[in-house]
């Protein structure tokens, strides 16, 4: 028995007391009323834009090292007992519903499907899957001739993956794919609906495993066990599901971080020497501009808002937007194909019980050229609630009486989804639109067009999931083609000509500005991104704390040639 198995469930994370700071009887992030407040004219050590996955981890880590940190967050400071509801339509306020323009040949529908707005960021209503990327994801260009190589490798993130997995904490079976590893918490029980998918996969020789999910399964400080109520995408009112709101921000507030919520960052201010002096923000539409001064600035607004903020921050030095000398800002934004296929059985399954994320497979993650395309996809169960199920039925072409008939059949269905790795392309990009938001700031426009490899991947994966359902005896099958997860848009790389930040996530051309969110990822693999975004922020924090992230040594900035950690399959 390995030491990690021996310690399953008992070894808590170090250097993070969030789980003990929460109150057993309330869902409130503790410390709002006693939070440190910094005078905006005083230069703090770090100002972070965005209290989401990346921004919160960075703030928590550096606050522990004594940095004075202010987080500027556009959305509200949640009071979950009052603000969050166990209801689909009533959760509208959780999402980033400010306007965005979508274009290209395959426009990506945003809103509730892609990003959040408020303290805790998008993870407040993410599903909860927390897989790691595979080692191969960091070098898809040299391995498969597609996508891009990262300036860092899996090795660089490994200790941070392990630390964040203990902090969330992640529950799941031992993981055989990518770099094989185990999880700190045991797998959750599996519902009848996921059981159908499980058996179908086994009949087809496809390995599925339970998890990995950032959902408490057992005792974890003051965070309760999951109650299997299935509303993870509406915000967990139980505090069982991980999000920075419960995993990092309690500890951050206890270490003197200030979260300035309801404040929309409008640009980054530069001084004569080209250093960032702070972040300009608006507290209300039409109100005065505020400037929070800081020695270092980190932007963590996610893949659409981070490029938008950079593009909006124009100056004499950067007329086309901050760090945009080479027209790289906003490019190579990515989503994942997320087609969902549902199967029907005679008996009731009631898929709405249990968290939507239950079991997954990475058997198809790596390139197998016999399939006719590069890279691959993962398979994961999901379980739409009634409005989500209605959208699924509609997408298969049913409305009126036919839709009502399928809806009445809801309890007989189980759903399995895929995540296809879609390739980074320069024309898939975020730009500024002519429309403005309530603050008068230009909104983002996101263009997306699938390439042939993307289309072949999506088509192939749908045949696999349909086959799994049929193998499990599904009588009828309904499919919805959709997309999920954002990444990229300000990617890290080895040279300013092909990237926005260096191997330390520091902006080319501005010495004290870092990006700390999902926008820096050059590829996305077929894994859900949140764990990797947190691990990247954790690594960045360690390097900012010891000063290595500020290195001007060209080799350090370019990163090292990827040292390959072998994938399990090799």
């Amino acid at each position: 028995m390995s030491v990690r198995n021996l310690l399953k469930g008992s070894a808590g994370p170090t250097d993070n007391d969030s789980r003990f700071l929460l109150d057993v009887h309330s869902r409130q992030l503790p410390g709002e009323s006693t939070m440190s407040r910094y005078d905006e004219s005083v230069e703090v050590d770090l100002v972070v834009v965005g209290a989401g996955a990346g921004g919160s981890v960075l703030a928590q880590r550096l606050a522990r090292r004594g940095w004075r940190v202010v987080i500027i967050e556009a959305g509200p400071f949640w009071h979950p007992d009052d603000d969050w509801v166990s209801d689909e339509a009533g959760s509208h306020g959780l999402y980033w519903t400010q306007n965005r323009i979508i274009g290209g040949s395959d426009p990506i529908e945003l809103g509730k499907n892609n990003s959040g707005r408020g303290v805790g960021g998008s993870m407040v209503h993410y599903a909860g899957y927390t897989p790691r990327f595979h080692p191969s994801d960091f070098a898809t260009f040299s391995r498969d001739g597609v996508g891009a190589d990262w300036p860092i490798s899996y090795d660089d993130l490994l200790p941070h993956y392990e630390q964040v997995e203990r902090e969330l904490p992640v529950a799941g079976q031992n993981w055989p794919w990518g770099h094989p590893h185990s999880y700190p918490f045991s797998p959750h029980p599996v519902s009848e609906a996921a059981g159908k998918v499980w058996r179908g996969a086994r009949a087809r020789g496809i390995e599925m495993r339970v998890g990995p999910v950032g959902i408490v399964n057992g005792t974890f400080g003051n965070r309760p066990h999951c109650i299997y109520r299935g509303y993870c995408l509406q915000g967990c009112k139980v505090n069982a599901k991980a999000s920075p709101y419960v995993t990092h921000l309690p500890d951050a507030l206890a270490h003197a971080v200030e979260i300035r919520s309801g404040c929309m960052a409008s640009r980054v201010e530069l001084d004569e020497r080209g250093r960032a002096t702070g972040v300009v923000y608006l507290e209300e539409a039409g109100g005065p501009e505020h400037l929070q001064r800081a020695a270092f600035v980190a932007i963590a607004g996610y893949s659409i808002e981070t490029p938008r903020l950079l593009l909006s921050s124009t100056s004499r030095r950067f007329p086309d937007g901050l760090g945009n000398d080479h027209d790289q800002v906003g490019r190579y934004v990515m989503v994942q194909g997320a087609t969902q296929t549902a199967g029907r059985w005679p008996e009731e399954l009631r898929m709405y019980k249990s968290p939507p994320p239950e079991i997954s497979s990475e058997d198809f993650y790596e390139t197998d050229l016999s399939r006719g395309f590069a890279r691959g996809f993962s398979i994961q169960t999901v379980s739409p609630l009634p409005i989500g199920w209605a959208e699924h039925v509609l997408a298969d072409g049913h409305w009126g009486a036919a839709l009502r008939e399928y809806m009445r059949d809801y309890n007989h269905w189980a759903t399995v989804g895929v995540l296809n790795e879609l390739l980074a392309q320069p024309e898939n990009r975020v730009t500024l639109a002519s429309q403005t938001d309530q603050y008068g700031l230009p909104v983002a426009r996101m263009d997306y067009t699938l390439c042939d490899n993307d289309k072949a991947n999506i088509a192939y994966s749908t045949t696999v999931t349909t086959d799994i359902l049929k193998a499990a005896g599904a009588q009828d099958v309904l499919t919805i083609k959709r997309f999920a997860h954002l990444i990229g848009g300000a990617r890290m790389g080895s040279s300013p000509a092909s990237s926005v930040v260096d191997a330390n996530q520091r902006l080319w051309g501005v010495p004290n500005l870092f990006l700390a969110d999902g926008s820096v990822c050059p590829t996305q693999g077929s894994a859900n991104p949140a764990l990797t975004i947190m691990a990247l922020a954790s690594r960045l924090a360690a390097r900012m704390a010891d000063g290595s992230a500020m290195s001007d040594d060209p080799e350090a900035r370019a990163g090292r040639p990827p040292r390959q950690v072998a994938n399990a399959q090799e």
Binding site: D81, D83, W84, V85, S86, D87, E88, A89, G90, Y95, T97, N99, R100, I101, I102, G103, P107, E109, L110, P189, V190, S191, E192, A194, G195, R199, R202, A203, I227, Y228, R229, G230, V238, R344, P346, E348, Y352, K353, P386, I387, A390, D396, W399, G400, A401, A402, L403, R404, E405, M407, R408, D409, Y410, N411, Q435, R445, D447, Q475, D476, L478
Partner: protein
């Protein structure tokens, strides 16, 4: 009687790919469903209200309050709006989920979805244009407004709307297929946010702080356990149960 277990009621499995007339369904005995039909005649999700948290209770029960009046749509648009909501959700008589009012409230409150297609106007403008377009197409085909058409005529127009196959009038300033998805997003979110619709489909509803304890019987074997011996032919059992032995 249709065989529910075989799925004989499912449009995709029927020779004409059309749904059966809802008269095969039992009448609701407990609680309310839209049109008093459903598959769970003795289920009323509202019986569980005392297991919901106060914030959720407030949001959900507000949907049962008397709906309207319309704030976003004008009186001249109301007939087409109601006809569209009825025909897309097959609500042909009372009791109805007040879909028109739920859509109206969302648009009046500016609750938009956070994206706008580059070739489309703001969702609010799209709604005005769609309702005008429905009347245009109905007049064009049947010489009367959309609301005055028979249900079959309305269905014909809506079928073309769903396939992006309408043109002329305001349709020419819209991507028609996308306009359909804009409208249906709001209509379905309204209909399936209503507890009566949950009764119809047997959905358990809000589940906090109660949660669920019976999530399914599959989790009997741990990954390291194997099934016990039985009287049947072992070789046959292995062949029959590849998912257990494979």
């Amino acid at each position: 009687m249709l065989d529910r277990d075989k799925g004989e009621h499912l449009p995709n499995l029927r020779p004409d790919r059309r749904p059966p007339h809802p008269s095969w369904l039992p009448r609701q005995r407990r609680g309310t469903t839209p049109q008093m039909i459903g598959r769970y005649p003795d289920f009323d999700v509202l019986d569980a209200v005392d297991t919901w948290d106060p914030a959720t209770k407030k949001v959900v029960l507000a949907r049962l309050e008397p709906a309207g009046p319309l704030r976003f749509f004008g009186p001249e648009e109301e007939p087409a709006l109601r006809a569209l909501c009825d025909v897309t959700t097959a609500q042909d008589r009372e009791p109805r989920v007040p879909v028109a009012e739920l859509v109206d409230a969302k648009l009046a409150d500016g609750e938009l979805d956070g994206f706008q297609y580059a070739d489309m106007p703001d969702d609010r403008d799209t709604w005005h244009l769609v309702l005008a377009g429905l009347d245009h197409s109905a007049r064009d085909r049947y010489a009367r407004s959309f609301a005055r058409c028979t249900v079959e005529e309305q269905q014909d127009v809506v079928r073309d709307l769903s396939q992006g196959a309408l043109s002329g009038g305001t349709w020419d300033s819209l991507n028609v297929r996308r306009a359909w998805s804009v409208c249906m997003r709001a209509i379905l979110a309204g209909f399936y946010s209503h507890p009566w619709a949950w009764n119809e489909i047997g959905f358990g509803g809000p589940a906090y702080p109660r949660g669920y304890m019976r999530t399914g019987p599959t989790s009997v074997l741990e990954p390291f356990e194997t099934p016990g011996a039985t009287a049947e032919d072992a070789a046959q059992a292995v062949a029959d149960n590849p998912e257990v032995f494979g």
